[in-house]
Amino acid sequence: MRIRGYVRAGIFAGMVTLCLLGRRFPALAAWPAAASPFIGLAAAAGGCWAAGGVWLALAAPCLFWRRPICRFVCPAGACFDCMAKAGGRRFRLPRFPRFGLALAVATWLGCAAGAAGFLWLDPFVLFTSLFRGWGCGVPPLAAVFAALLALAWLVPGLWCRYACPLGGVQDALFLPRWFMTRPAATDEARRQVLRLGAALALGGIVFGFLRQRTRAAVRRLRPPGAADEAQFLSRCTRCGNCVQACPAGLLRPLAVPPLACGTPEVVFGAAGARPTRWCQAGCAVCAEVCPSGAIRPAGRRIGCCVVAFEHCRLYDDDECSVCARECPFDAITYVWSETAYRRMPVVDAARCNGCGRCLAACPVDPRTGLPLRVVAGGDA
């Protein structure tokens, strides 16, 4: 069908344009990833309607048409199909259940319950991540995309038909499927039930394992407005939009460990150097570009500032009032101690956002040790 080819090519070009424009206009950056109904449903369940809920427009045809996104829209699928055509080897597809839907369901349960999910396996996210975050190193999802390209070359259709969660979502949305009855032998019916059971069991095991790992996760500095750590790990699509968009360049995708790999971390500056940039009060670009609502405009702060007094100028009775003056939240005061006969900077944990302004302003030579640093969590 040539028309399908042209439509597909056109939409692919449109997606690429949107991804490139997203680098320049943060308002557009969330659109490509947020268009996927897999992401959209997870985001909507959390109350986030990134890109104005454009995923609804894509989900509507799925109700009465079999996998329209795969046929026309999915840019990753377009790439995989090209690879499939180029590939020579074809293996027989073994018979095992289509677990794409199981992955999707496990992910949604994870989003609700605070366990890491598989939003990052969404093909839209995999594709858009190629355009994001390159300034901070190769995004981890590019490796996944490359692996799937190789898989498409080796075993065409394996990913798209069996594993892709977006494909599974489309299958589930296809209404006639629920009403169709297939005259099947009881053995076949039993096998189907077993397959479904195996898929759900697999999903459950993975879900439980990931939930366990999520709990043990190290506290990291997350973007301001990020959900709590468990929710964040489940909601973050690892798309790299926020890393790309942050005007202060504070976000880096984590490289290890496997569970948090690709999620954004706030890094103020190289160790032993004074940071030059900080999270601006009033800026919410990271929340604007997040397609799944892992980062919201109002939410948790980055962390809390703690003071290592022995490095502070006031420890040596040197005159200084820079950090209190620069703090946009008025979170620092200098408290006089009659017994020590000197003043000490004290951070009000209720006001501190962890924005890092004080770190950049502090005049102490970083080589001797900085008196201020931001730690994750709300407690000072």
Binding site: D317, D318, E319, R325, W336, E338, R343, P363
Partner: protein
């Protein structure tokens, strides 16, 4: 009487008459004086400017009304001879005005010299830009050419000066400028003619006297004159410390690897002598009870600290050179002027169309900031200006304004403006900016 051949009796007669005459004259003098004092109508100071005592009026203490004698009439009166005041007086004198400079202590420099705040801050901004020029740079250059004037190059860092060297330099510069100096004079009140300030009244050992001026500059640091004049202002309670100096640090032999002891302070231009800062508790720097308590407590603490240092291995020869004669009050009254400077404006580098100076960064680490003339001018009262730490600024911004270099910069601006106003016959508020700018540029002030 044969004076060539005097007998003993004649001698005695001669001596007696001479002594009698002397005593008589002297007594007459004293009697006359006493009579003059006794005859002085109530409230009128007699010869010698002696004021009548206050009267006990059944529990109320009444000061009899009196006419205050004016001892001088001048173009510009500068009240307070600290960093800002001296800069103002010298600038006004060089602009052609007749200047009277009044100071409560016996020396100039205020907190710089008396308070031992030796650190020069805010003359540089980002990219090593020197924003303190004019009188600032002149003083720094003269200091660096004097023995033990500065301890490092002001062009690339923040030096300390030596208080005695700077005291002498100010005496030299004030003398050069031909300023009328009144030391040991404590500012009492402003002289108000409606909403116009006509000078000020000072308390001296000989009683109060007034100086009448066309323009008055309040560089007391505490805003004593503008408060008396009825200008809107705010009073802040802030850190009050006491600086001290320690000596024989060049003879110290600290143990290698030992932790640095407390109270070593920073270097001064004199080898072996350091100055040690103190932040201090919050206090009202205008309240005598607070100041007295803190003077006592701070000296106790300094003594204790120095003894502890002497007991640290290697520091046994260290000794207390001096505690500052001026307690470290950082800010008290701040004028509410036509414009209040804010930190946000400074960080955004907001330009002003009446810019009279540029301030720098404490450690030269951030961009420079402009100072508008309106921040020195009271809202309602005429012919009165302020400069230095009482320049109108929000508390966070006062941290940048109160250090030495902005005091020099605002002082120079106030002096030029007052001289110009006196010359042109305008109020201080109505000084034409174009003329003021021209005068400031002639005095080599950096205006951006």
């Amino acid at each position: 009487m044969d004076y060539a051949h005097l007998s003993r009796r004649d001698w005695m007669k001669l001596l007696g008459v001479s002594a009698g005459a002397g005593i008589g004259l002297g007594a007459g003098d004293v009697l006359a004086d006493l009579r003059a004092r006794a005859n002085a109508p109530a409230g009128k100071p007699a010869n010698g400017l002696h004021t009548p005592p206050c009267q006990w009026n059944g529990g109320q203490i009444i000061r009899p009304q009196s006419t205050i004698p004016a001892i001088s009439e001048t173009d510009v009166l500068v009240v307070g001879g600290g960093a800002a005041g001296c800069a103002a007086a010298i600038a006004a004198a060089r602009a052609g005005a007749k200047v009277a400079l009044v100071e409560r202590y016996g020396y100039f420099g205020g907190l710089v010299t008396g308070g031992l705040v030796l650190k020069i801050l805010s003359h540089r901004a980002a990219n090593n830009q020197l924003v303190g020029r004019g009188l600032t740079e002149e003083m720094l250059q003269r200091l660096e050419n004097m023995p033990n004037g500065l301890n490092r190059d002001y062009r690339t860092g923040e030096p300390e000066l030596d208080a005695e060297v700077y005291k002498y330099l100010l005496v030299e510069m004030v003398s050069e400028a031909g300023i009328d100096v009144y030391l040991h004079s404590w500012a009492l009140d402003a002289i108000m003619d409606g909403d116009t300030c006509r000078g000020a009244v000072f308390q001296t050992k000989m009683g109060p006297h007034a100086i009448i001026a066309k323009q008055t500059i309040d560089t007391t640091g505490d805003g004593d004159i503008f408060a008396s004049a009825g200008c809107a202002h705010e009073i802040r309670a802030y850190w009050i410390g006491l600086v001290h100096r320690i000596g024989n640090l060049d003879k110290a032999t600290p143990e290698p690897g030992a932790k640095k002891p407390r109270g070593l302070g920073d270097g001064t231009p004199i080898p072996g002598i350091n100055w040690v800062n103190m932040s201090g508790p919050d206090g009202d720097g205008l309240d005598v009870k607070t100041l007295s308590r803190l003077e006592m407590n701070h000296r106790k603490q300094i003594w204790k600290q120095v003894q502890t240092l002497r007991n640290t291995p290697g520091y046994d020869k260290t000794y207390l050179v001096e505690t500052a004669p001026q307690i470290g009050v950082r800010v008290t009254r701040v004028l509410k002027a036509a414009h209040t400077m804010t930190l946000a404006d400074a960080e955004s580098q907001v330009p002003f169309d009446d810019c009279i100076g540029i301030g720098g960064a404490w450690f030269g680490e951030h961009a420079p900031w402009a100072i508008p003339y309106r921040a020195l001018v009271p809202e309602k009262i005429d012919n009165l200006l302020t400069a230095g730490r009482s320049t109108a600024a929000e508390p966070k911004m006062s941290e940048l304004v109160r250090v030495i270099v902005p005091c020099w910069v605002t002082g120079q601006a106030a002096g030029c403006a007052a001289a110009l106003a006196a010359r042109l016959g305008t109020t201080a508020r109505a000084v034409p900016y174009a003329e003021l700018r021209k005068l400031l540029l002639e005095q080599k002030v950096y205006l951006g």
